[in-house]
Symmetry: C2
Subunit: 142 residues, 2 copies
Amino acid sequence: MTPAPVHESLSQRLADSGLRATPQREVVYSVLLNKRDHPTADEVFARVKGELPTISLATVYNCLETLVQCDLVRAVNFERGPTRYCPNLAPHAHFHDVQTGRTHDVDLPPGLLDQVKSVLPSGFDANSVEIIFRGKATAPVS
Amino acid sequence: MTPAPVHESLSQRLADSGLRATPQREVVYSVLLNKRDHPTADEVFARVKGELPTISLATVYNCLETLVQCDLVRAVNFERGPTRYCPNLAPHAHFHDVQTGRTHDVDLPPGLLDQVKSVLPSGFDANSVEIIFRGKATAPVS
DNA sequence: GAGTAATTTGGAATTATTCCAATTCTCTCT
DNA sequence: AGAGAGAATTGGAATAATTCCAAATTACTC
C-alpha cells in the first residue's frame, strides 16, 4: 500500500508541461485533495492560508489554472457563481443539492458516457461529456 | 397550422404566476424565440433595443429572470462567462463547439434522460439532468 | 380619476476574475 | 558560490457580469 505520493504525481505532471513544482502549487493541490467539497477559489485561498499565510489570491487563481491545464483538476461551472474545483479524475457526474447548495460526485458505470455520446447526430464530435443532476439528496451523504 | 400565438402562451404563463405581460417581457421573449443562438443578456439587450430603444439592461436581466421563473426559458451556464438563455423547452442537451464558441441544441431520444437518472445511487433524487458535450462540429450546422 | 402595487429605469455597488508591472525565486552555467 | 535568464508570485488596479436600490412610470382596481 503506497502512501499516495501526491507530490510525485504533481511534480511529474508539472514537469511534463515544462512547469515547476512550487510550494504554492503543492499546497493548493493538497488542499483540493484533502477536502473534496468542490471549493471556490476563495475557499481554497482561505484553506491554503493556513499553511502559507502570505499567499495571494492571484496566485491561487494561477495555481488552479495550472492544475486544470495539467489535467489534475477539473473546473466546474453550473449556475452563475464562482467556478468550483474538483480533483476527481475518474469519469463522474455532479449532483447539485438545491437545498444545501452542496455538490456531490456520482460515479458512472463504465460505458455510460460513450452511450450518451452515441446519441449525437453525425457532424458532432464530442471529446467530453458533462452530466449535472439537480435535486435533493434524501439521505445524508458525505 | 396555427401561427404560434407567442403572446398568448407568454401572457398565460405570466398570469399563472401572478405577473403582468409588459412590452419589455414580450419583446425579450420574442427576441429569444427569433434567434436561438443562446445569447447572453448583453446580446439580448442589443437586439431588444431595436424595438424598444429606451429599455435598460437591468430590465433585460429582470425579464430574463422572470421568463426563467415561468419555465419559458432555460438559463445555461457552462464555463465561466456570462449566462446564456435558451427558449427550447424540449428535453435536449447542449453541444459546445470549442472552435467557434457556439452552442447547439441536441435533441435527445425519449427516455434517455430517465435512463441517465437511473444511474443515481439511492439517496439522490434528481428533478433535472443537464448534459453538455464539448468538441467540434465537423459539419456546418445551423 | 385616485389609490395601490407591479414594473422599469439609471446608476451605484458587488462579485469573480483577470491583468500588470515589480519583485522574488529557481535553475543552469561557469 | 555567483551571475544571468526565465518562471512564478505578489498586491493592487482594472474589467466583466450581475445585482441592488430608490425614484419614476405604468397598469389595474374601485
